[in-house]
């Protein structure tokens, strides 16, 4: 298993003088089968940039056994029994947003569950990611966050074994430099699992597969406790003219002007000539990372999709789409699309004309007059 080297230089765009090394020790404890077992792993690395995100990162793991408290049971979640597959690894939570002030510290706990049939050796690494600008897909970096050239003793995260059916809690601790700048750091923590027992023999043409599950960790450093920035409507893709027998389709691209992630809030509506709403949509609260953009997803605002608290019913989340769509048997004239994103409202007009009907009429007239012409020219 390759351990990707992480380079913190990529987290900050400022360059500052090299600072002293911080003393960090590596400590392990013998595993205690009757109680929680903690493995503390600390990093040694020099602080070469004053605005470093992290002074010390530790990964603390604990084993959860069936004899532990009910909250840490190894039983799979309801409906999720042990898989028959050799590799089945789950992590929770899949995405976390943490905001912290410079000079402060915080911890975050992941839970790994092995639903597979084989014991897995788990190694951990962190990489950064960037937003793709339209969806919530992280574009993973090359994994160079901690620079091993600067710190040859780097050993982030001690590998451990997770048995089939076992839970593992891993706690990540961050201490933030008091000189850290206001910035959002999208990170992805990767948990790589490979089987301990390799069944391949030397006389087979074998490809050994292994898997990695990830959890996204977005950390925002700021000394302000209030919301910063705002969302704006960056772009609305819509047709100016549509056919009366067609449908109105449009997409909304929202942009976050602020330094930290913000949820999308708002709604849209299509109104007819008489300013009556003929359809309404509610925006799904996807998060837009700081200084990034994302397409707005929606569901139709109906009693079927929305519960009594005004929230999208979970079972209907499969209806989410980044395309707003409306269809009617026949539309004619101007229709107004009104988009309200936070405090910003934008209205655009789409005009429905019976292009297909006109085309048919034209074709009909063409045939009619063509027939008459031919009849005159060739009376017999």
């Amino acid at each position: 298993m390759n351990l990707t080297i992480l380079n913190l230089h990529q987290l900050s765009k400022t360059s500052c003088p090299r600072l002293a090394k911080l003393p960090i020790f590596l400590a392990t404890q013998p595993r205690d089968q009757q109680a929680k077992n903690q493995l503390k792993t600390f990093l040694k690395f020099p602080m070469t940039i004053a605005s470093f995100l992290v002074i010390a990162v530790s990964l603390v793991t604990s084993v959860t056994h069936p004899a532990s408290t009910a909250a840490q049971t190894t039983s799979p979640a309801a409906g999720l029994g042990l898989s028959k597959a050799p590799f089945s690894l789950a992590v929770s939570p899949p995405t976390t947003y943490l905001a912290v002030k410079p000079g402060a510290a915080l911890t975050h706990t992941f839970t790994l569950r092995n639903y597979g049939q084989q014991a897995l050796k788990i190694t951990t690494q962190i990489t950064d990611f960037t937003a793709d600008g339209t969806t919530g897909k992280p574009i993973l970096g090359d994994g160079s966050v901690f620079d091993k050239i600067i710190n040859p003793d780097l050993n982030f995260g001690q590998e451990f074994i997770i048995e089939p059916g076992e839970n593992r809690s891993l706690t990540l601790s961050f201490t933030i430099s008091d000189q850290a700048i206001t910035k959002e750091y999208p990170l992805t923590v990767l948990f790589h699992g490979e089987p301990i027992e390799k069944n391949g023999s030397s006389n087979r043409n074998l490809t050994a597969a292994s898997g990695t599950v990830a959890s996204n960790l977005i950390i925002f450093i700021s000394d302000q406790s209030t919301r910063q920035g705002e969302l704006i409507i960056d772009q609305i893709d819509y047709p100016r003219f549509i056919d009366s027998f067609g449908k109105i389709n449009f997409k909304i691209l929202a942009r976050n002007l602020g330094p930290h992630a913000l949820p999308i809030t708002g709604q849209a509506a299509i109104k007819n000539l008489f300013q009556q709403s003929i359809i309404e949509y509610i925006f799904y609260p996807d998060y837009i990372l700081g200084n990034s953009s994302r397409r707005v997803r929606n569901v139709e605002l109906t009693a079927e999709n929305i519960d009594s608290q005004g929230k999208i019913i979970e079972d209907h989340l499969d209806k989410l789409s980044d395309q707003f769509s409306y269809r009617s048997p026949f539309m004619i004239g101007p229709y107004q699309i009104e988009v309200q994103l936070e405090n910003q409202t934008r209205q655009i007009t789409v005009i429905a004309l019976p292009f297909s009907g006109l085309a048919l009429i034209f074709l009909g007239l063409l045939i009619f007059f063509g027939y008459k012409f031919l009849k005159q020219k060739f009376p017999s």
């Binding site: 597959a85 590799f87 929770s92 939570p93 969806t135 897909k137 201490t175 074998l206 490809t207």
Partner: protein, 249 residues
Amino acid sequence: MRSKLVIGLGLAISSLGMLFLAPLIQAERLESNSYVIQFGNFNMGSGTGTGDTNYQMTYTLGQTAAGPYGNYSTTNYFLGSGFQYIYQIQEFAFTISDLDIDLGILSHGVLSQASHDLTVRTRGAGGYTIYTYELRPLTHHLGEITILDTTCDNNNCDQTQAAIWENEEIPGFGFNASGPHVSSDFVGHPNFFRQFANRAGGETMQTIASSAQIATDEVTTITYQASIAGDQAAGSYQTGVVFVAVPGY
């Protein structure tokens, strides 16, 4: 008597004035032109607490549940009034049906295949992405000779772009992906193959499947294909392939 009347009238007027002139206090809603904070409990506190010398815990008071729509319960999702946590409690699961992919005996002029399934399960509406890479090309067990990654029939495929590979005379090693959300170069083309991104060669892992929707046991099938040149050294060839499943945010 008159003074009592005046005092009483003054009190009455003052009371009425407080009722009508005092601004309404919305204790649970603070807003400005640029933001709105809606919390039922706004006793803020934060800072560095005490703890181990190697790490310290911060604390936040007054966190309330102000979750958005969707599949979060208010107890699991909250916007901290101390500006610390936005938390999604969901499990992201990734399954590989088989870890030992045996290509069998490789012969010149024969395309050998083997396959397995990748399954993603996430109830989060952020979806997922699957990346893949190989640790190195298929390498002879003695360590030096390799079966090169395929470049397909027309020498037009690589780790980022699939192309047709049906010619048994073309040696190489590659894969095809099929499923509901595979990359576009695989869609509708069961005979299109890519080579794996070669980690030993410094290549970065590549996306093979991606979806922005909830995935309930969504299966992507990986089909490996290999063939050898006529002068390929006899022996067993092996490599390692890694599949990385990343949730959307």
